[in-house]
Structure formats: C-alpha cells, structure tokens
Symmetry: C2
C-alpha cells in the first residue's frame, strides 16, 4: 500500500529519463523484489550497448521495428512481439529503421548485481 492507496498508476511519459551508459531514453517504471520494469525509446540509428543482465529479461515491443541481438543470434522484431533473453547472455537492441522503436524491459527477479556493459 502506497500513501494509503492500494492502486499505483505510473505514467511512462512522466517518469524521469535515467542516466545510463547507453545514453538513450531509459525510464524505470517500477521496481520491487520480483520485477523491474523499464521503458526504452530508441530513435532511428540509436542503439543500446552490448551488455549482460544477471537475470532473465523479456522485451515487449510497443512501437516500431528493432533489431535484437542475443549472443550470436540476431533478429528483427516488431510491434506486439515478446522476446525472451536468458540471464547472463550478452544482448543489445538497436533501431536501424526510419521510425521510433519503443519497448518494455521486464527483468525478473530484480537483479541484485549490476548490469555489465561490454
């Protein structure tokens, strides 16, 4: 219960852009023991850096098309596709299209170690 209320509504657009080594629009929406959910926007030609997350991650594409690289595999993903990326395998997302690419990052559980940029 937060501030006497049970329901907690988080507006993505009102959340602060986090300072990360990726230098793109990363917004943490919520974090509790069992999950951390982050919203990322990649504009055309923007990219995350290859990195390793210590827990399993799902990406859900909200808008546009992007490239997902996990280990040595690479695929183009589209709106309303979910990608499962297992813990500890290096991954990166990038936008090689002409339009905005937005996705949710669902980390389960919330990592106790840092994400490692490669």
């Amino acid at each position: 219960m937060i501030g006497g209320k049970t329901m907690k509504v988080i507006e993505m657009n009102e959340m602060e852009v986090a300072q990360t080594p990726h230098q793109v629009d990363v917004r943490k929406l919520i974090s509790y023991k069992d999950a951390t959910i982050v919203h990322i926007t990649l504009e055309p030609r923007e990219s995350l850096k290859m990195h390793v997350t210590p827990v399993d991650v799902c990406f859900y594409v909200l808008e546009g098309d992007g490239i997902v690289e996990i280990g040595k595999e690479k695929e183009t993903v589209h709106k309303d596709e979910l990608v499962f990326s297992p813990a500890k395998v290096p991954h990166r997302l990038s936008n090689e299209s002409e339009n905005t690419f937005r996705f949710l990052v669902i980390k389960t559980p919330t990592p106790t170690e840092e994400t490692k940029i490669l």
Copy 2:
C-alpha cells in the same frame, strides 16, 4: 535454450486464445518460474470478472482506455500507463469506451495457486 536457439520470439497475434471464465481474448505469451506474461484485449463493453491473483501483478496499457478496479479503488487508465496491483486484493479491468483496450498482465512470480474468480 529452446530448439538450439537462445533467443525466443513470441508473436502475440499467433498465440492461442485461452479458455478462461472471463470469456474474452486472453493469450498467454510466456510463463517461467519468475514471471507469467499475458496479453488481454477488451472490446467495448467487455470486462474481466472480479478476481483474486495470488501474486503481485502489473498491468501495462498497450492501446486505448480502460477502467481498473483494485479493492474499493477505481481509476481510468490510458495507453503507456502501468498499474501495480498487489497480491490477493480483488481486481478487475473493463472497457467502457468505444474503442479496443489492450494491456499486458505481468504476474511475478508465476503463481503456484489458481486465480480465484469472485
């Protein structure tokens, strides 16, 4: 690793509609120990039944506007809003608008008990 591949891509539109007591378009996208992620579409005047989930749940609005009820609280939610609904508090979502309402349900961890319809 699934079928020799590390990456797993799930297309929401290709997933089967589950048979549930809610009798609306519910599609399970993925389920593993730490999370179950489900996609739900509510057309105008459709609604879930009030129910209790044994674990914490986040709802992320993908399209349209809907009503979320959690316990005695009720709010209208919009695209790109995330709602946190704590374990064991009855909740329901409904669509009183004239347009499609779609959202993700992120249950963490995957419940070992059944959801209870009230």
